[in-house]
Amino acid sequence: MVTLSRNEPEYVRYEIKIQPAPDVIPFPSRFKVRVKKHRLAGLLLKELVHYRGQKEVVTSRPCVYGVFSGPVGGFAPREDKCVGCLRCTTQYPEMVEIFRNPDRENLGDSHFTREYVDSVHYESQSGRVPVRGAGYRGKFGGEGWDGMWTDMSEIVRPTRDGIHGREFISTAVDIGEKPLLLQFNSEGIMVGETPHCLTIPIPMLFDAPPPSARTRALTEILVRSATETETLCILPLPEILEFSIRNRHVVPLISLSDRDKLSELGFAPSMIEMEKWDENLYGIIRDQFPEAIVAVRLPYSPGFEDRLLMLVDHGVGVFHLVGSYHGRGQNGEFVRDLISAGHRALVAVGKRDRTTLIGSGGIIAAEHVPKAIICGLDAVALDTPVLVALQARMIGECVDWNNNQFDIREVPVDWGVQRLKNLLASWRDQLLEILGAMGLREVRRSRGETGRAMFQEDLEIEAFGEIEGYGD
């Protein structure tokens, strides 16, 4: 078994170093503050008289966040400081209006909505878990991930150690081909089929960015971020060759037309991904890179489960299931159900534990990672969240690998690396929250555990099925 880097004999707790990575491209403020200046002037005059010139009273402002604390107070509000508490407008309805900033509201697209952009923005900027007061504010449920809740236990903990036991949860996952059992001879030496896999410390890797968004800086950011977080990044072979990349955290993405360039690869990759299945090319890769784990990219086309099983019969052990950026398969079904279908197909033929399923498409928030794993993935390949973390703007709908337009600027590489490390650290911490609440000690144990999740369609029928009008 290949472990990417950490071969230290002693236990080292995995950690991603976070540090603030403030925006390098101006990000629109959340709120717009509109003050009717003549009314403000009138109020100040009135108060000057009423409070007999007491400056401290007259200039005491409603905003505790400093929006009106600039040199000219409310005459030039500092909108970037506004958190939308609405105290000013509550106090002075005729004078102050607070609006949601349309520039901010319009960020993202119909799947990667402004709320998700805000979260990724905060997470990549700070590396922290978003915490807010006053309960949940969104829709009740919905399609896909929104109609799914993870379980918790009132009393079961991952361990009895630590404040919450969370500190000891493993987020490591294996990628590769695994025998169902290990065999040893009488001298304790492993015989028979041996595992051919690598371990990454988080169930997240970076998918190849779409052609429209590729820049040299982005490539460098992805490679360094994957290296520093000990995970993987998938990159097209031509790009690897163009930038002379030699790094075992990089997974070359090989298309049919790359066949002749394989020999130019200047390093022995730990994993290779085929853009689509080709038996001949698969054979060549296996011959040329016998140590490498070979994954096959598989779109969610109608009947993809049959294709999955067929490829397992051909000896493929790792699949990268690819949905659109909006989380859809080719027939419009949401990836949540498609992942489950793929997972169950493998379970039904007794091949699930031999196989690794990586998935991408529509996984755009921290909570989507455990949900996708519960539905049946081993690991998630991040696509659009990477670009959003690097402050790329979506222009129109960014639907899939070929249909998208990102406004991605050249950004400093060090900054970009920190943004992605922050994002991964935050998502990992949130994964720990979910696993801790479930009382699970390893993310591996949540794979396919749909019994530890609740689905809206099931809950709804159980709770409301007998109510008149339900199902109409």
Binding site: F31, E47, Y51, Q54, E56, V57, P62, C63, Y65, V83, G84, C85, L86, R87, T90, Q91, Y92, P93, E94, R100, V129, P130, V131, R132, G133, A134, G135, Y136, G138, K139, F140, G141, W149, T150, D151, M152, S153, E154, I155, R157, I163, H164, A366, E367, E433, I434, G436, A437, M438, G451, E460, E462, A463, F464, E466, I467, E468, G469, Y470, D472
Partner: protein, 465 residues
């Protein structure tokens, strides 16, 4: 310099307090429209503004504000009642009883509350003692309760201990023999809906000297409530906990507050056999405290699903009447309370509604900087002054009055004389996925007086319990 014998600080507080209260009164009337940035899917601008009206008048709004449902597109927001034809409505409102008992066991003290709700746990530290006082005084006025939350009793609320539920949570902050003996009801908090399985966290900034003193901790240091009780790993351990409370206060009723996991029905049965009188199931969509965003939406089920699950299972086990089920975590309106009861709860626990009554705009900044800018979830000495306990009590009490009025109205239109008759009557509900409320996130303008909603006046005189 002083003006009218008032210090500068007093004048500043007065200036802002007067302006704020005027705002709470003016905005819902609609002359300025609605604050464009107010509200969200669960608590729409209409719901917030109508709660402000109710806090002022004690009645639901009559100017077209939607005061019954939010715009979340699910749960309570897609349920309606199947009211009887008007000629079958009960005409004498005085016949309608909104009281419930908090003890269904054949033994131990009988406690009845005049309205089917009490106030949920908000600790000293997470809210100011002015807010605590407002809540507990309203509870006293209505013959109900409010929970201390995990933070003990500041001296100011001790005189109201007969209307306080002492909460014992995993950090045991503020828990002493004395505070367990104070209260007629003791609540063991295993989990809370907004952060199920995650424990609690009081930020260092809020742990002032007085908060730390009551919690027996060090000022200005973050306080973690671990999850779960590290002394409870089984139903037997759970029973041991309840027995421990009973040993200290044999007269107390025992409440167990849990979250809503897949097996919430089993948890309910386990709590019953461990000796609980009340089970508080706390769904994931409510709460007033700060919580990781990931926990609020994604861990544990919404209370609308948990209530019927628990109710039906307790019925099938033949123990439904002996365990009081209180639902919380997203109860916003009188209609939510009625729907929760129709789904199978005995009553509800209110939290956010009370804060909205005294000015919360649901802006979610509770943990930022000095805490709530409206003086609610803060221990900042200046900001806390914005809530005067008498004013706060009157506002909360008026919302209670309006809620009771609406519950009676619902009951009479269903032909029921007691809220207890509504429990588990999901046959009186209608499921309406196309509920008009669900288009109202981008809400219509407040209507003119001539479009006023007709509210039946026949039950405005509340029944004195």
């Amino acid at each position: 310099m002083e003006i009218d014998n008032k210090t500068i600080e007093q004048l500043i507080t007065e200036k802002h307090t007067i302006a704020l209260r005027r705002g709470f009164s003016v905005w819902p009337r609609g002359e300025f429209g609605k604050p464009p940035a107010l509200g969200d899917f669960r608590w729409t601008a209409d719901l917030i503004l109508s709660t402000w009206i109710q806090a002022e008048t004690g009645k639901p709004p009559t100017n077209g504000l939607e005061y019954r449902v939010g715009a979340s597109g699910g749960g309570f927001d897609v349920l309606d009642f199947k009211f009887l034809p008007e000629d079958q409505w009960i005409t004498n409102g005085n016949l309608i009883d909104t009281s419930i008992s908090l003890n269904g066991r054949p033994y131990d003290k009988k406690i009845k509350i005049s309205v089917p709700w009490y106030g949920g746990g908000m600790s000293y530290g997470s809210i100011s003692d002015h807010v605590m006082l407002s809540r507990v005084r309203a509870a006293k006025e209505w013959g109900t309760y409010t929970s201390s939350g995990e933070g003990g009793y500041p001296d100011t609320i001790v005189p109201y201990k007969d209307n306080i539920i002492t909460q014992v949570a995993t950090g045991l902050f503020g828990v002493r023999e004395q505070t367990i003996q104070y209260a007629p009801i003791i609540e063991l908090k295993y989990a809370q809906g907004a952060k199920p399985g995650l424990g609690g966290h009081l930020l260092a900034d809020k742990s002032t000297a007085s908060v730390a003193k009551i919690r027996e901790s060090v000022p200005w240091v973050s306080l973690f409530s671990p999850f779960p009780f590290h002394s409870v790993y089984s139903v037997e351990d759970h029973k041991k906990h309840l027995d421990w409370i009973k040993t200290i206060n044999p007269a107390a009723l025992l409440c167990v507050k849990v979250s809503t996991p897949t097996d919430v029905d089993m948890v309910a049965v386990g709590s019953f056999y461990a000796g609980a009188h009340i089970l508080n199931i706390d769904g994931s969509y409510g709460s007033t405290g700060a919580a990781p965003e990931i926990a609020k939406k994604n861990i544990a089920m919404p209370v609308e699903y948990a209530i019927p699950k628990v109710h039906k299972y307790l019925v099938s086990e033949g123990i439904r009447d002996e365990l009081i089920v209180m639902a919380s975590g997203g109860i916003r309106t009188a209609y939510d309370i009625a729907k929760a009861i129709a789904l199978g709860a005995d009553g509800c626990v209110l939290g956010t509604t009370e804060l909205v009554a005294i000015g919360c705009t649901r802006c979610s900044n509770c943990e930022r900087g000095r805490g709530c800018p409206f003086g609610l979830t803060t221990t900042d000495p200046e900001l806390s002054q914005l809530v005067d306990p008498d004013w706060g009590m009157r506002r909360i009490s008026s919302v209670y009055q309006s809620f009771q009025f609406q519950l009676k109205d619902i009951l009479r239109r269903l032909g029921l004389t007691s809220i207890r008759e509504l429990r588990g009557r999901s046959d009186l509900l209608l499921y309406n996925k196309q509920h008009p409320s669900n288009d109202k996130y981008k809400m219509k303008k407040v209507s003119k007086p001539e479009e006023e909603l007709r509210v039946e006046e026949s039950v405005t005189d509340s029944v004195v319990e």
